[in-house]
């Protein structure tokens, strides 16, 4: 009988905090910029300089910790993590070792409709490293490499999960939820493409029922949610295959090769690192008052889970809709704004999840951008116009297309194009009579009990009115007249 395996995954998420200046100096954290323009003696680690902690970073660290249901440390400190690499100007990284800012939290994900809670081991603050630009493919094959220290000292939080994630899909859901939470709390932009959200994964497999963990590998270089899931799926299969063949999984760091869809071994020598952590003597330990923690707690916004709950309870949205919309803060804020202009939450949700998302995906625009042509009030107005019977759903799609182009309110577009639905019975009756006169066969069929025939007749009326007739009124009139 074949052995059943289970997968054990733990994630390490790095997220850049969106403070204006770096963690230990006044240099700008702005993304981009010419190489080595956002630097100063402190973040360059020049001889003699000293770090001074940016209070905003600690505030954001606490905020992230609170949003992840953690206990905030009353006493916390920075430590030095010692290792040599040219992108690290001091050859040590200021990080946190045994007294992180926050511990013992969790976040909830929904898997196949079921809620699952994933433990958060710790949240700690640290400084980012710089960027190497090689003349060739790698340092080894280059005649020279250049270093850009613009990112050096940009504040990061590292968030470590418990090994409680049981599938690659759960891992993706965890990371998506993490991104949403960090965006809602406004501590990070979480742009994976700019590297402001990064994720490493530890994964092992073991026969179902075995208590001890299997040997784990660490996966790096997954640059999208999809890549994370794919890499974990590949790696789980690879490990199972190794075990099935009677081999042993080697503890090592592996990199995800997106193009080939496989994980590749990096030097396993790296595992032998002894970082020689010790408290940074240049920084004094932080004593964090309950009062400060409470002040920060007061600034926490409504988080995705609470918002989802509100959509379901107050607006009777299906759980699925509520999840999709709250999965993105921008989208959810858009939806909330729209709700101020229409009471039909379900209809608005349908438009947001349907036409609006389709448009966002094809246009690449952000709903929060100043240049976004469809403000939430306009989409809500469109929903209202349909509800009032001013336009049909079919016409509404045309109007929506115009709204993208022109950025105008739907009522203005309808007025200008004369698209307003005709509901006046007198105006429709004439067309109905005409259609009945022209299609005796269909009328005959209907009277003989072929109910389907009415569809054809309605279609003819709609065609004659260029789709503007109210289909409900048309239907009723036809039935009345053919009795």
């Amino acid at each position: 009988m074949a052995i059943q395996y289970e997968i054990v995954i733990g994630l390490e998420v790095h997220s850049e905090l969106k403070t204006a200046s770096k963690i230990f100096c006044c240099s700008s954290t702005e993304f981009g910029g010419d190489p080595n323009t956002h630097i100063c003696p402190v973040c360059l680690g020049l001889p003699g300089v000293l770090p001074v902690t940016n209070k905003k970073v600690v505030e954001f660290g606490i905020k992230a910790g609170l949003a992840l249901n953690c206990t905030i440390a009353e006493f916390s400190k920075f430590d030095r993590k010692n290792y040599y690499y040219p992108d690290l100007p001091k050859n040590y990284q200021i990080s946190q070792y045994d007294l992180p800012i926050a511990e013992h939290g969790y976040l909830d994900i929904t898997v196949d409709g079921q809620q699952k809670r994933i433990g958060i081991t710790r949240v700690h603050m640290e400084e980012d490293a710089g960027k190497l630009v090689h003349e060739g493919e790698t340092m080894a094959t280059s005649r020279y490499s250049l270093v850009d220290y613009n990112r050096t000292g940009v504040p990061l939080v590292e968030i470590v999960s418990e090994p409680e994630i049981s599938s690659p899909e759960e891992a993706r859901l965890y990371l998506e939820k993490m991104k949403a939470i960090l965006q809602y709390t406004d501590v990070s932009d979480c742009k994976m493409e700019e590297g402001s959200l990064r994720c490493d994964a530890n994964i092992s497999v073991r026969p179902v029922g075995q208590k001890e963990f299997g040997t784990r590998t660490e996966l790096k270089n997954m640059n999208s949610f999809r890549a994370l899931q794919k890499a974990l799926e590949y790696e789980a299969e690879r490990q199972i295959e190794v075990l099935e063949d009677g081999g042993r999984v080697i503890q090592e760091t592996r990199t995800w090769d997106e193009a080939r869809g496989i994980t590749l071994s990096m030097r396993s020598k790296e595992e032998a690192h002894d970082y020689r952590y010790f408290p940074d003597p240049d920084l004094v330990p932080m004593v964090i008052s309950q009062q400060w923690i409470e002040e920060i707690r007061q600034t926490l916004p409504e988080l995705p889970d609470a918002r989802k709950e509100r959509y379901v309870t107050d607006y009777a949205l299906p759980v699925y809709d509520a999840e999709v919309i709250t999965g993105s803060k921008e989208l959810s804020d858009y939806f909330d704004e729209g709700l101020k202009h229409t009471a039909n939450a379900k209809a608005l949700s349908n438009w947001v999840m349907g036409e609006l998302l389709k448009y966002i995906n094809t246009s690449g625009l952000s709903v929060a951008g100043v240049d976004f042509p469809i403000p939430p009030a306009n989409l809500a107005e469109l929903v209202e116009l349909i509800d009032r019977g001013d336009i049909s759903g079919k016409i509404a799609k045309d109007v929506f297309a115009d709204m993208q182009e022109k950025g105008e309110r739907p009522s203005v577009i309808i007025e200008a194009r004369g698209l307003k639905q005709i509901s006046d019975e007198g105006a429709i009756a004439a067309v109905v009579n005409e259609v009945i006169a022209k299609n005796p066969q269909s009328v005959e069929d209907f009277r003989n009990g072929k109910d389907k025939a009415i569809g054809f007749l309605v279609g003819q009326v709609m065609k004659a009115t260029k789709g503007q007739a109210n289909p409900g009124v048309v239907n009723q009139l036809l039935r009345d007249k053919m009795k």
Binding site: P41, P47, G48, L50, N82, P281, D282
Partner: protein, 485 residues
Amino acid sequence: MQFNALTAHELHDRLAKKEISSVEITEAVFKRIDEVEEKVRSLVTQTRDKALQKAAEVDMKIARGEKIGPLEGIPVLIKDNMCTEGILTTCSSKMLHNFVPPYNATVVEKLKQAGAVIIGKANMDEFAMGSSTENSRFFATRNPWDKERVPGGSSGGSAAAVAADETIYSLGSDTGGSIRQPASFCGVVGLKPTYGAVSRYGLIAYASSLDQIGPFAKDVRDCTRVFGTIAGHDPKDSTSAEFAVPDYTSFLTGDVKGLRVGIPREYFVEGTDSGVKELINNAIKKFEELGAICEETSLPHTEYALPVYYIIAPAEASSNLARYDGVKYGYRDESAEDMVTMYMRTRSEGFGTEVKRRIMLGTYALSSGYYDAYYLKALKVRTLIKQDFDRAFENFDILISPTAPTPAFKFGEKSDDPMQMYLSDVFTISVNLAGIPGLTIPCGFVDGLPVGLQLMGRPFGEGTLFRAAYAFEQNTEFHLSRPKL
């Protein structure tokens, strides 16, 4: 009159009265350097043009009738581990032989704002590691009292230059005795301030939790003036304390009646030169004569200070000195074909033997599996040492002891035996571990070599140290003796 032989306060009075000019003082200093530097070798860099330019500016200010500050127009020499914008800052190391900082250390900035005339940078043990200045990668500095002998270290250049009248005063740094021991060997006044009293921003770190910058001066009054200028909170240094800097000259009353002076018995043990012991006993008698109450006390954990220091300081150094890798500035081995070889060769050649020894010691002490047994335990013992002092200061205003167990030793005498060299700091190290202030003043001579008396005080109790030291100085003449060069 040899202006270079005067104190800063004497020169200030004459400047204010327009009896002399800053340019004359500065020229006198450089004339002296030209005469004796070949014998003393205390400077690694001279900034003659900049100094004379600054002096001329001060003279213009005086000519305009403007008031000048106590250090304005007075020459100063700065230890070469403090960053000076646009001026070589080498730590007397091959590793930084070409390093020109783009910024000023806070102390340098403060001196500049006070109108000081910076004449150059002082030789030192490489990266402040050593007790004789023999570890300078450039040349050894000689003791002005005996050219066969070391000036002490690591701030040997700063101490020797003051003793040789090559400067009016100087700045040094003290991690385990690096100001007080050379001041003792060279017969000048030297202060290691309370940890956090002077900003470390721009001081090239050796051991961050122990390093402090302090002055070398020809008398106690000058010492108070320099300390008063460089002390104070600095937002650029998280470990600098927020405290009100008093007018330290107000402590120079000459009166020590009723001052409670503790004599820690652990500082009067075997291994100390008998001549030194006698001078310290004379000093104790002098304090009693002046009305102080001198009693024996105990600092029971004293014997652990040296081993604790040689774990904590190298551990911090191993990390602080990691940045010197040939990538960004300073020395780089150009022959290497790959990065790791470049790292290894750069650090093997760029650092001297003692620096490499301490980096290895520290790396070992912080290694996984050894951290608890060494570093963590050392931190705990450090707390005990600090508590010893806390307890002693419940009963005493100051503690006194020899600054060093012996007068200046000969070149090569200890350079082959690190343990013997380390023992020359046995009386000064506890003060750094406890973070308290320590002041050394001349208290006599053994075979023509100066000996220092160490005064230790409560945290931020520098004023009390100045009070006691000034009273002693007013009633003795040791500080007036000058070496013959």
